[in-house]
Symmetry: C2
């Protein structure tokens, strides 16, 4: 007892040797199972004591190998510097942490090839589940994972042909909210700055844009629909095009996300077009800082907290009962944040058609 212990390498086995115990006992104590295994108070205390003194933390890698479970979730998103995803990741990380999971974060940089590569990497790392906000139009490289044994939740964008649980805002209704607010304020010539074709979020929002016009008895002018990416550059370019070709031909602009809106604002400024005096603007994706814009932007807000919660729930559900995997989707409602970027230019436009089945 008085002999200086040999200070074995930090491991359960090492601790066990130094204490003259078996690894099992040490493992059980450290796992907090002392009680249920009727391990003596004295032994338990010795173990805890030494572990604390040596600042020993069990090797989760070895544990993972033994248990075939890593308590790790792969999170694969197109761009962590986009604050929509950053906020989502925050909620998800925190939610999963509470359940004992860590996340490996991968950023596909809007590149489907990189996405495919990272997906394989995450598989190799034996993640217990996958959260994917897919990039691009194709789902070929995703298919392999989505039929498989691994729990997967698809975020924000999803594919009809993949039978996977997904979580998303109700992009269709969100677009309708924006459009109806324009119509209430007398706008009928409304331009649309699109995101990437083929992505669920862009396609759904576009559907909402079109259908609302139709429901209100207005015709869809294809020349007012512009752009094909979710970044600022595209917002700028598309807005420029619209301004050069169709100036005075529209009174409002619907931008399909925060970055597109910012790009559009730059173009509008260059053309000395004032918002909302000359053109009204609504952006999809609320950001707190839109409050400070000139003018403060009216937006469609996605329910970030709720999206995060739903993602975690759907994933844990699958992990807990892998058999009961009926793929279910969650569509959460957006909300309209009214600020000052929409001008009233006439009486409200009345709806022509009955509310369509959604």
């Amino acid at each position: 007892m008085k002999t200086k212990s040999k200070t074995n390498p930090l491991s359960i086995t090492g601790i066990a040797k130094d204490l003259g115990l078996s690894p099992s006992t040490v493992s059980r104590v450290l796992a907090g199972k002392a009680k249920s295994f009727h391990i003596s108070e004295a032994t338990s205390k010795k173990v805890l004591e030494l572990a604390r003194r040596r600042k020993f933390t069990p090797n989760a890698i070895a544990r993972g190998l033994r248990l075939l479970k890593t308590s790790t979730i792969g999170v694969l998103i197109p761009d962590i510097s986009n604050s929509f995803y950053a906020q989502l990741v925050r909620t998800v990380t925190e939610g999963l942490r509470r359940h004992g999971y860590s996340i490996i974060l991968c950023d596909s940089q809007d590149d489907p090839a990189l996405e495919a590569q990272l997906l394989e990497l995450l598989t190799g790392r034996q993640v217990d589940g996958l959260i994917i906000a897919p990039v691009g139009q194709s789902s070929a490289h995703l298919a392999h994972f989505c039929g498989g044994a691994k729990p997967v939740v698809m975020v924000d964008r999803f594919f009809k042909n993949l039978k996977v649980p997904y979580v998303s805002s109700d992009n269709y209704s969100g677009a309708r909210q924006a459009m109806e607010f324009f119509l209430e304020n007398g706008h009928t010539r409304i331009a649309c700055l699109k995101g990437l074709n083929g992505t669920a979020s862009s396609d759904q929002r576009l559907r909402g844009y079109r259908q609302t016009l139709i429901d209100y008895g207005l015709k869809v002018d294809e020349s007012l629909i512009c752009g094909n990416a979710f970044d600022e550059q595209n917002g700028y370019t598309a807005m420029k095009q619209l301004l050069n070709r169709h100036r005075r031909n529209f009174t409002a602009v619907f931008a399909m996300n925060n970055l597109i809106a910012s790009g559009a604002l730059i173009a509008l400024k260059e053309h000395a077009v004032k918002v909302p005096r000359d053109v009204s603007l609504i952006a999809f994706d609320e950001q707190p800082y839109f409050l400070h814009y000139n003018p403060p932007l009216t937006t469609i807000a996605q329910p970030l907290k709720e999206l995060g919660k739903a993602i975690v729930e759907l994933l844990l559900e699958q992990i807990k009962s892998p058999q009961a995997r009926r793929p279910r989707g969650v569509l959460l409602p957006t909300s309209l944040v009214i600020r000052e970027s929409v001008a009233r230019i006439g009486p409200p436009i009345a709806r022509k058609a009955a509310r369509p089945t959604h």
Copy 2:
């Protein structure tokens, strides 16, 4: 050859069995070492073929255990939804990926207790290195990791007493840039909205604030220094205080980060104080969207890309040669982004003292 293979569980051993080979051989082929081991073309091809057909990816967990190296880096930051950190994480993730590392992302939520807990978790997960943007004033819980064997890089905030490589903007000089721009425009009564006391970034910026005033022969009015956190709430509260107590007693405000600036703007709006007509404003931490603010904000930009690059470099350097660990710090220059939130209210103020040794 024609017999249906037994489709062993996906593992190197399984593949080996099905092919009548040894695990060693399969491992070598899959690791791309076929050449150097003179493995026959035929064998090599068989292995690659089957691996591809079964979509087999080697188990990185098992590999990690065997090699005592996980190719995983722990990244611990106070708030991933703060776009400063989000952008940093993006650069770092991408840089590390190119070198074969994945990251486990942990968000300490500005909570030192959680930070300590996550640090232990990351240790347990056997990360090969640690990137920490520490929270709070105390470094007690960090000390254990920073003398240890694990490579660590401290980001953005750092502690004098810990001998660890760090990467940070030159906060002191950044603050001076802001202050000197105010002085050039005739401001002498400049308020300061601080971040959390005791953090390197807040303390350094405050030092720059004070020293610049002194160098220009102005006295530091402590009642114009307000606030104690890096969030919007604090920006709002501190600005309110200043407005209630000292209105007309200052002509400029230096906000120590983007969130504080946004909070301050809300307070200013509530008091109907116009920027820059009534009060000028400079924010530390450039954000692209500040361009759209009303007015567009003049800011101090941190070199995000370069910070990220330096972090990766310093970390990899340590991983490669663990012995050569002379703790070195990297301090990168900030830059002034001039927009429209600073008004000229008088002739430039002249410097009184010689430029102090930094």
